[in-house]
């Protein structure tokens, strides 16, 4: 088909607009990377846009040499692993149990679960309950409250209802109990959905700063995002420089007077963002599927 001049120009305009959009997403990371690889005092003069002008690794040496940051990383990794595996397991078991249509009181249990989506006690009563349970200032405050996700449960339930009943019935005729049916039939068939929900749960744990900021006060329990949040409002670099084990880098840094709060901040944020940037391309096929399973109403 012939294209008119108008269509051709509008096509190019479209490509231009979308390219600008992609640039607006990607450029900030390139910019922050350049600043973090540049001497701080030099970057503050301006003019560093894409490539470091006075290249240095000192910011990263200081950030990675900081025992608080390293420890915060351990907390984040631990809560992401424990929270994701535990959360998927608990939520999967509930969804599977409720997928039996003949279960007595099934409607009542579903209503009990649904009500929590419509109404909640609010932040303060929740906080008081965390206090009463003795969860405040423990690692488990990151895990237990989010272990059962009602939203994910409904997504799983909806997905399981799409599994042909004949498949489950024939396994039951062969003498398989509900636990065997779950592991040998339902779980293998649900893998893409579990991967998507697991990904969302993991990202939620990785990115959560709120629990670390308000439910724990011991510095040894804060995750990376909470550390970032505290650093956001920091007035000077003592937050990062204190408790630094890399004394040699520290000495060099202060001698050259070339580290600034901003350059350190950029290094910290790059260290927290890089893992997501690295795994993102490999996980993409899962999450689009996950969003779509979740959106189709049952």
């Amino acid at each position: 088909m012939k294209q008119t001049v108008l269509e051709k120009t509008s096509n190019w305009l479209l490509i231009l607009l979308l390219s600008l959009l992609c640039l607006s997403v990607l450029y900030p990371f390139a910019y922050m990377l350049a600043i973090s690889l540049n001497e701080g005092a030099d970057a503050a003069k301006g003019g560093v846009y894409l490539w470091p002008r006075a290249f240095t690794l000192i910011n990263y040496e200081i950030v990675l040499g900081n025992s608080v940051i390293r420890h915060a990383y351990l907390i984040t990794i631990a809560r992401t692993i424990v929270g994701t595996i535990g959360g998927l397991l608990v939520t999967l078991l509930v969804a599977y149990g409720l997928s039996y249509k003949g279960l007595p009181f099934r409607g009542g249990i579903l209503t009990y679960i649904l009500i929590t989506m419509l109404f909640n006690g609010g932040l303060v009563p929740f906080y008081i309950q965390l206090n009463n349970l003795g969860l405040l200032n423990t690692f488990w405050v990151f895990i237990f409250p989010g272990l059962f996700s009602v939203w994910n449960m409904f997504v799983m339930l909806k997905f399981m209802q799409g599994i042909p009943e004949a498949l489950i019935e024939s396994a039951e005729l062969d003498g398989a109990g509900p636990v065997r049916v779950l592991w040998q039939i339902v779980v293998p068939l649900s893998k893409p959905m579990l991967a998507a929900l697991g990904l969302f749960t993991a990202v939620g744990h990785w990115n959560d700063w709120f629990a670390g900021a308000f439910y724990v006060s011991r510095q040894s329990l804060i995750p990376v995002q909470t550390f970032l949040q505290q650093l956001l409002t920091a007035q000077d670099i003592s937050v990062v420089l204190g408790s630094n084990t890399n004394q040699e880098a520290l000495a060099r840094g202060s001698q050259m007077q070339n580290i600034t709060l901003m350059s350190i901040k950029m290094a910290v944020v790059m260290v927290s963002a890089l893992p997501i940037l690295c795994v993102y391309p490999f996980l993409q096929k899962y999450f689009v599927k996950g969003v779509l399973v979740g959106s189709v109403k049952g």
């Binding site: 269509e7 900030p28 279960l103 990202v203 950029m266 109403k297």
Partner: protein
């Protein structure tokens, strides 16, 4: 009956942890709402605290509270006005890309910001807007202007909130629309081409009507969130310089309750906003029944 229950004992055992977790983290806090009518101090028991009637609702007479309500509505309406049409527009644009590889690339890149926390987004804003060599202020000075302290400005707070949430979520929110577009029968477009309809006419008469059900569902689902504006985003952006426009209901509850210890008052504020959002959800559900023929649950 009990024989039947016994037959499903494994299923009940599987459901039990979920039921217990909801009891601990949802239902008991609901019972804790009575703190709104008591004089509660942390460390004492809720049940032993003295009743104080409506004393904790005294904030309703403070003008400061109404400023906060106003701030909340202002931000949520602005976010809705920009955030609702933007993904529809972007999805239509992405759909018009004929090169499959470029299309996939644009999709991948535009979904990316959704996976970063608001903290990271605020760092990006800081790096571009800082007075010490930030890119934007460099451009401002080059153009002959005075550097602007964007992060601590009452005028710039709302534009920053709206633009950063557009940056973070627009791409992600196209997923539903793009999926809806793929379900449209391609023969419709063929027929339109034969009739001589241009691209814009095709969008207006085929694509838009095709995704209308999705648009109306997304519209309905966004109504209940009008009362919550995303504390995850607001709290890291707020500071003492912009607080008069930045303070919203969620941050008010957080500050007065968890930070200053006014548990009763903060619970009362939380109770009011819970009730409003419940009313919004129920209304929305009725609306959805009327328009789409089925409710949300």
């Amino acid at each position: 009956m009990w024989a039947k229950v016994y037959k499903f004992r494994w299923q009940y055992l599987m459901i039990l942890p979920g039921v217990v977790l909801l009891l601990l983290f949802n239902y008991i806090p609901m019972a804790g709402i009575q703190v709104a009518f008591r004089d509660f101090q942390i460390g004492s028991s809720i049940w032993d605290s003295p009743w104080v009637g409506m004393d904790n609702f005294a904030f309703l007479q403070e003008p400061h509270f109404w400023t906060i309500v106003q701030n909340t509505l202002y931000i949520s309406v602005l976010k809705f006005l920009f955030g609702f049409p933007a993904p529809i527009l972007l999805a239509l644009m992405i759909n018009e890309v004929s090169h499959a590889g470029f299309k996939r690339f644009v999709q991948s890149v535009s979904y990316l910001p959704h996976f970063f926390s608001w903290i990271v987004v605020v760092y990006i804003l800081q790096s571009f807007l800082t007075l010490d060599g930030g890119l934007v202020n460099q451009l401002v000075t080059k153009a002959g202007g005075e550097p602007i302290f964007f992060m601590g400005s009452t005028e710039w707070f709302r534009p920053l909130v709206v633009s950063s949430s557009l940056w973070k979520e627009t791409g992600w929110n196209t997923i539903l629309y793009l999926a809806a577009i793929t379900t449209i029968d391609p023969q419709l477009y063929e027929a339109a081409k034969v009739e001589g309809a241009g691209k814009l006419a095709q969008i207006r008469h085929i694509t838009l009507p095709g995704i209308m059900p999705t648009i109306s569902i997304v519209l309905i689902l966004s109504i209940p969130s009008l009362i919550t504006v995303g504390m995850d985003q607001i709290y890291p952006l707020m500071n003492s310089a912009n607080q008069e426009v930045a303070d919203v209901l969620d941050t008010y509850v957080l500050r007065s309750g968890l930070q200053q210890g006014y548990f009763g008052m903060a619970t009362a504020v939380g109770l009011l906003s819970s009730i409003i959002s419940l009313v919004l959800v129920v209304t929305t559900n009725a609306l959805s029944r009327k328009i789409n023929g089925e409710g949300l649950w």
